[in-house]
């Protein structure tokens, strides 16, 4: 087959030259990936010698023997907010409040971080670069690390959870919002500018209608992610139901831990369902 091309002085198509099963390029990529995995395995050296299948089986069974005492106040000092369901509700709202704070900051900043809004003048272009750099740096620090640091700075508790979660989400939402602005159709901006409108009127009339839906969609996506994340924040000093889960496991009360895990699963599944329903209706 290759002669057809060589006889006519044409380059032979790659597809004809290479046998996909023996092509050294493919084989070396696959071989390289396996090598990296093997080296990684040697370095990590997972040690299963301390695993006790019998004990594990017992714990798993206990996880399903739910300790329902955590669902009611246990003494006169405890209120609804000390029960597992109270903490679950508080944790959901922790995620909502953190998202709310991050929206308030990310929304105005996102306009400063959109190339198409800020291009055209050296000063505004510099602001654009700085804002996007801030978004990237803020986003690159993992939520758990931010919450741990917040716990040190402002004290362990829900405040650290809210502030840490909000801080991280300013970076995430800021980037998503900015990219939504950058993705708009520039035609209306040009047309509205041509009517004699000022910069603010152009943004109000031509930009905002185009970004409302992506903004709502991204916000719900992050709200969903934050409510999922909130239960774990208690582990690193961020408050919420995570503290109760942490304590239950430390006290070997696996019945309570199992019930809390179940409540988290139900919450996350419900959140997942609601957010996907809302987002689907927006698109």
């Amino acid at each position: 087959m290759a002669e057809y091309f060589t006889a006519r002085g044409l380059p032979v198509p790659r597809e004809l030259e290479r046998n996909p099963l023996t092509d050294w390029r493919r084989l070396s990529v696959i071989g390289g990936a396996i090598l990296v995995f093997y080296i990684g395995l040697r370095i990590v050296n997972p040690d299963l010698s301390r695993a006790n299948p019998e004990y594990a089986a017992r714990v798993i069974l206990q996880l399903f023997k739910w300790d329902t005492s955590i669902l009611t106040p246990q003494n006169e000092f405890e209120t609804f907010w000390d029960t597992a369901e109270g903490l679950m509700v508080a944790t959901i709202f922790l995620g909502i409040v953190a998202t709310g704070f991050s929206i308030v900051v990310a929304l105005p900043l996102s306009f400063l971080g959109a190339r198409n809004i800020m291009a055209g003048h050296p000063v505004t272009a510099a602001i654009y670069v700085v804002v996007r750099l801030i978004f990237t740096i803020v986003r690159s620090i993992d939520v758990l690390i931010v919450v741990i640091i917040c716990g040190v700075l402002i004290g362990i508790g829900t405040a650290a959870g809210v502030v840490g979660l909000a801080f991280h989400n300013i970076g995430v939402l800021g980037k998503l919002y900015s990219e939504a602005i950058e993705g708009i159709d520039p035609g209306p901006l040009e047309a509205i500018t041509a009517t004699g409108a000022n910069r603010f009127q152009v943004i109000w009339t031509a930009v905002i209608p185009q970004i409302v839906n992506p903004y709502i969609s991204f916000t719900i996506y992050r709200l969903d992610a934050n409510v999922r994340l909130a239960p774990i924040l208690g582990y690193v000093g961020g408050g919420g139901i995570g503290i109760l889960l942490f304590q239950s496991i430390q006290l070997l009360n696996y019945g309570a831990a199992g019930l809390i895990i179940f409540m988290i699963v139900v919450t996350v599944a419900a959140m997942d369902f609601i957010s996907s329903q809302i987002r689907r209706r927006l698109v």
Binding site: G187, P188, A191, A194, T195, G196, N198, F200, A206, Q210
Partner: protein
């Protein structure tokens, strides 16, 4: 009489080094219907956008009604812009909002920022919007979403939006390039009407010479950012045509107007019926 628009030695060089407009000087009188022709990339769009400074000219001057547009800053520039309407090849409507609010946005140059956000449009503005939509024959679509309209209808909303500015001049950047021949004529006729009835000067770039001949009172051809021809439409003969479009070019006729019955092939008739249908019923 002093020309309404004076363009003097206008040059636009883009950062990429392209000289889109290369020393254009033109005087345009009030009431003219100027058609800009030329190959893609000959500088028609850049020239039009330099007039209202959607594109910042590199050098040269644009004087509109005695006011130097190129020197105007901030509020002064916006006051000049609102006297110059503009329509676009891709219509440039805010697609998600209603035809009415798109039309009303033509009044933005007359409103304060605060009123844009905080108050509803005035009765006068709404009355004017319906009047202008009525002029282009789509008042019944006022509450439809802009993207629910056909191309021809969207362009008519564009015209209504521009008319809201009470313009003295209308810039049209290939207003019919994305429309079929029958719809093209309907849009061009509205431009002709505002030119003749309201005395609004029109500067319109077009691809088809047949449209230029039919609607223009003056044709300006651009080639490589320079004026290659400036005169009456009927003066463009075969030789001039080749000068403007190159030796290999062959003139293509755009379809006839709807009002003139012409024998058509079966497929042409079918396409035209479809175009009419789309234009009138969607």
């Amino acid at each position: 009489m002093a020309p309404q628009l004076q363009i003097q030695d206008l040059v636009k060089v883009y950062p990429s080094g392209t000289r889109a407009v290369d020393g254009v000087s033109l005087d345009i009188q009030r009431g003219e219907f100027v058609v800009l022709i030329g190959l893609s990339g000959s500088g028609k769009s850049s020239l039009l956008r330099c007039i209202n400074r959607l594109v910042e000219p590199t050098s040269g001057r644009v004087v509109f009604d005695g006011a130097d547009v190129t020197r105007a800053s901030g509020p002064e520039l916006r006051r000049l812009r609102r006297r110059i309407g503009m329509i676009f090849q891709s219509f440039n409507l805010v697609r998600r909002t209603s035809v009415l609010s798109n039309t009303l946005s033509g009044r933005l140059g007359y409103r304060s920022t605060w009123r844009t956000i905080a108050s509803r449009p005035s009765h006068d503005d709404i009355a004017a919007a319906f009047e202008n939509l009525g002029r282009v024959g789509i008042a019944d679509k006022a509450y439809a979403r802009a993207d629910a309209l056909s191309g021809g209808q969207q362009q008519r909303v564009g015209i209504a939006r521009a008319l809201m500015q009470h313009p003295d001049m209308m810039l049209a950047d290939e207003p019919v390039a994305s429309l079929d021949p029958a719809t093209s004529h309907s849009v061009m006729k509205y431009l002709e009407e505002i030119n003749k009835k309201d005395g609004i000067t029109v500067i319109c770039s077009l691809h088809f010479l047949s449209l230029a001949r039919r609607y223009g009172t003056r044709v300006i051809a651009l080639k490589g950012g320079k004026v290659a021809f400036d005169g009456k439409p009927e003066e463009i003969d075969e030789r001039r045509f080749k000068e403007i479009y190159g030796e290999d070019a062959v003139e293509v006729e755009i379809g006839p107007e709807r009002s003139i019955p012409q024998p058509m092939s079966a497929t042409d008739a079918g396409l035209k019926a479809l175009a009419d249908d789309i234009d009138t019923h969607i």
